[in-house]
Symmetry: C2
Subunit: 654 residues, 2 copies
């Protein structure tokens, strides 16, 4: 199993980029002739020389009268010249008339200039009367005449190979009479996800499967890069099937992207299959960059295969770093502007020395308009850390920390991404979702980012300024909710609403209280430390211990599952529903939604912490107004069991 | 004909925008369910709440061993803990195994956690040996376990109505198992061009027609705005046909855009038809902004009709100003970033007081990276002024000039537009086209803008810095080309090449020299003053006059057509070919391409003026290198009759 050691020779990103450049030469790529109406955003594959003069004839640039300029010399407001009106020519019509001395012909904009005339007098400087016109201004030769070929002359190269076709180029091609245009063909990129645990969206999950994310995000990113994505679907950890899918992908496309199954720990299938398809095909066996270590680059049948890591955030980072620039060299598309933005780094952060790190960040617009970049500290395996990330910052190997306030370049994942206007970080609650939806309904241009990390982490984010608002429900030993936790911090507290917390258990389970847990008859499932619900559980257990004359340590040791923590109401309800545990603490809504029995413990206060200097941010004010609204009370109480919105919702408590 | 006076009540742009807002309320627009793979760039029409927990079970975040954390407490490098290896679980497979005291189960990343285990030890901190593992580090409860719902919890609103779907949102929707998504339907926009003079690209031009530009540039702009353009084609100035096309457009679309036939001078057809379709339908009868005066806005069947001016640049300016924001309110698309850029205004420019002006500009990147905006002084009727314009600056009515160096906001017509890297302004020559093509072949990322305005105007543009290079061929009375014209200017002169100029005439015409023109037997066609060719003609005629003892004035008066000027070689050749004139002066290539007889006059020198401070700009150097290349000599001499490239091409003459 020498393969396991493959990551010992990691390549740098620069080395990998050089390998790509040298191994996959971009020859003159395929060219195709397409209808002009399909050409928006495509790249011209040839110089376009005009096949004709534009205009093809001398024409009037104005509505007015075609005259001999000489006949009007000396005319002014007081001494108009009178000319005989010989007739009229409209745009698009032939002209039989000729202008001789003392004559004029009425012309519309775009009409051909009659023989003999060498100027057009604008209608504003004339008066028509009984078959004659008075001209009040002298015209100079050539005035208001667009001469043949003066706009575009025959044979003139008017558009260049390599130009992007915008609406402007579409207009110019139309002006030349071209209804078709030669552009570079879009490269075809096959996309393949690997792993027994993956199911395609739209199908039903089997036990212990998750849905395939990478096929879809890569599909979109490949299309955004101007290529044609070909979805090859999911292939399990089956060597023969993988080999046949890869072969099919290679024959039907110009480039192949796989994701997953590149980790060295389990399943070296990827390496074996590539070696079998073409010995020596593997060019890169891993990268010395985080994330992205398990990246494989190979050449089979002369075509590139990019094997990306399985985690969505890692796969997309390596796609942006190495695959996208390669695709751009094929498509000739200029990278869209504005994809790198400057931001202040939000905190001091220590990283490992000696390894380049592409650190995913999310970007927030401050009140003043500047941007602040926050590192995403959740693991790269999470879909939400992927969905939160706006881009990454590139931290060189030789650095081991980033300073707070340091100016960094954020490489945006997509030019379509915009910084959020309002950021909520804290404890998850469906009532917050409800308020945010209302806010957006009122102002659809408001971009809200909501991140669920629990009360304590939310409070810290509010102190750092990362969160505009932090939803918290933290019970203090004094019996008071939230207020004691924001004292001595630069925060204010906005009243939110109340939620009922309690024990949830399956309908066929009999549960009275802690006795049933201490006895070991039922298995508990706990919440993570730092969450508001865990604070509640620990206080309840302390109360119980005082009454039962037990130490907290003893009680905790006796409760089966007390050390098994999970992070959400959902997770607790799901564990109870599936029998993994028998009892857990959740808010009433989740017991109802999972169809579980519910034994209420207490009514807790869910409020919002906001940093003092953010109180007047317009989006924060709008959110607070929403909390105050009747509509919010009606909606939240109707939709979320156990939630009640008090009179003073939206008021400042501190 | 009261209609003619309609422009007396012009609306301001703000008034027009208010009329649009009030008359066309944006109700909840149509929603459609589309496959996820079609969703890139679309706008979510509903909040998306997760139908499931992600992950749906507790899973391993690493390759390693599932253990009871308690069993590992105290383990370190020197005192490893030994656990019995009970088996292995791979991602996507069911787990029958349970972990009891002193046991471990091997797990791959993504595999479900066996019952009893509450932590995963990474493979790096273990050693496997004979059915047992040594653990070299103690694990804490929950370590390396992603618990059910910790990423996304069931019922959590994970994407919001109004969000743009980037590859990130595509990935998130896939993670939720959704293969379809509800988005706002794209508005359908019908596009109609009017005018007898218009022909559709791909068809053959009839006499005095030009190709329809607006249908195609509007088609592209409407698509770029996220709508579905419906091409209705060209309708002539025929009231019945126009009425029927407009009715068809209204029934098949949500919005109608027409262009042309809105001018008040000729053809009030547009007004009459709108009044007939629905009395009182016309809301706006013209705008007090330049360009865009002849703009009509009407409401028929409750739908908006935007009647834009016929000139391409005017039509697109009004589209950007009024139609695009309205379409954005329908699509909910955020306007793409970077569409307004700051630039220095290049010169002092006087404008009319009292009228707001949307001044088309082109934007050049300076050596330092800053942008300079140059007004486009060619009329809005020209396709090339349209193709040259990158955007416009909005000059308020109360200003009557712009200062040189003033910082202005340029509203880019399309976010796809990029400032040019190299700008050539001067006399048109096919050999310049040839050199530029070679330059781009070598560096496809180099964006070149070439503008043909004649030698004198090019020289002025080079002095102002607007042109990086000006192609000139100006004969001085001393008999020397070009050099005398750049003396006392901040310019240097780069040697170009030679071209043969001469008289062109139809093959059935007999022409010997000026005698045939002075006699009045043949009609001449002249070039515009300021062009290099006109300078040559005037000098030749002066020579002739000295010999013939005539004054220049007398000679000019005797030559038929001497006052008929046109601006290009093409235009002269075309006039001669079609019999509008008999003789003109062109470079040899145009006589050959138009199949005309050619009588050489002189070999002229075509050189390039460059401002001293631009000599070291990389793109200027690259262009000069191209002139020096053998390839240019071979290509230019083979392709362009009468051009010879001398030994010293590309050398500095001054």
């Amino acid at each position: 199993m020498g393969m396991r050691k493959i990551f010992r020779k990691l390549a740098t990103v620069e080395e990998a980029a050089a390998v790509i450049r040298e191994s996959f030469t971009v020859e003159d790529f395929k060219v195709e002739l397409i209808p002009l109406t399909d050409a928006l955003g495509r790249i011209l594959a040839e110089d376009v020389a005009s096949p004709l003069d534009v205009p093809g004839f001398d024409r009037s640039a104005m509505d007015g009268y075609a005259v001999r300029a000489e006949d009007t010399f000396g005319a002014d407001e007081t001494r108009p010249v009178s000319l005989r009106l010989k007739g009229r020519v409209e745009a698009g019509h032939s002209v039989e008339l000729e202008v001789s001395v003392g004559e004029a012909v009425e012309v519309s904009t775009g009409a051909p200039i009659p023989r003999g005339a060498n100027a057009v007098v604008m209608v504003e400087y004339t008066m028509e009367n009984d078959g004659a016109i008075q001209v009040f201004r002298s015209a100079s030769p050539g005035e208001n005449i667009t001469s043949a070929g003066s706009d575009i002359s025959i044979g003139e190269v008017i558009l260049r190979r390599g130009s992007t076709i915008t609406y402007r180029e579409m207009g110019v091609l139309a002006a030349l009479g071209l209804s078709q245009v030669k552009v570079y063909a879009k490269p075809k990129v096959a996309i393949l996800s690997t792993g027994d645990e993956l199911a395609s969206p739209g199908s039903t999950l089997k036990n212990f499967q998750v849905y395939d994310v990478n096929s879809y995000s890569l599909f979109a990113a490949v299309r955004e890069a101007g290529c044609i994505p070909i979805m090859m679907g999911v292939v399990g950890d089956d060597e023969l099937k993988f080999k046949s899918s890869l072969t099919k992908a290679l024959t039907s496309s110009d480039v192949v992207i796989t994701s997953g199954s590149t980790s060295a720990g389990f399943g070296d299938m990827m390496y074996r299959v590539l070696e079998e398809l073409e010995p020596g095909s593997i060019l890169i066996h891993g990268l010395s960059v985080k994330p992205g270590k398990p990246t494989v680059i190979a050449r089979v049948m002369g075509k590139p295969i990019f094997g990306l890591p399985g985690y969505p955030a890692s796969a997309m980072t390596i796609f942006n770093l190495l695959v996208k620039p390669y695709l751009a060299s094929l498509t000739r598309l200029q990278p869209p502007g504005g994809s790198v933005v400057e931001a202040r780094f939000a905190m001091k952060l220590v990283k490992a020395l000696g390894r380049r790190e592409l650190m995913p960040v999310h970007v927030i617009r401050e009140d003043g308009g500047g941007l602040v970049a926050y590192p995403i500290l959740k693991g790269s395996g999470a879909v939400t850390s992927f969905s939160l990330a706006d881009g990454y910052i590139d931290v060189p190997a030789h650095l081991n920390f980033l300073e707070e306030g340091e100016v960094v370049n954020v490489h945006l994942y997509s030019p379509r991404l915009k910084p959020a206007d309002l950021v909520l970080i804290g404890s998850h609650c469906p009532a917050v979702d409800c308020a945010v939806s209302m806010l957006i309904n009122r102002d659809p241009s408001c971009r809200v980012k909501a991140v669920n990390v629990g009360s304590t982490a939310g409070l810290n984010a509010a102190v750092r300024g990362e969160a505009d608002l932090a939803g918290i429900h933290l019970l203090h030993s004094s019996g008071v909710y939230n207020e004691p936790y924001i004292k001595n911090k630069p925060l204010q507290l906005v009243r939110g609403y109340n939620r009922v917390q309690g024990f949830a258990f399956r309908k066929n389970v009999s549960f009275q209280g802690f006795d049933d847990l201490i006895s070991g008859r039922l298995t508990f499932i706990n919440r993570n430390r730092g969450s508001g619900t865990r604070v509640l559980i620990d206080m309840l257990l302390e109360d119980y211990c005082r009454r039962a004359n037990l130490s907290f340590r003893q009680a905790a040791a006796r409760i089966k599952g007390f050390n098994v923590e999970c992070k959400t109401h959902s997770s607790v309800a799901s564990a109870v529903k599936t029998g993994k545990a028998d009892v857990g603490v959740v808010m009433e809504a989740y017991a109802a939604w999972y169809d579980l029995n519910f034994k209420p413990i207490s009514v807790e206060e869910y409020d919002f912490a906001v940093r003092r200097d953010k109180v007047n941010k317009p989006e924060v004010k709008a959110f607070i107004e929403t909390l105050k609204s009747d509509e919010f009370k009606v909606e939240a109480e109707a939709r979320i069991p156990g939630v009640t919105v008090p009179e003073d919702a939206g008021e400042f408590k501190l």
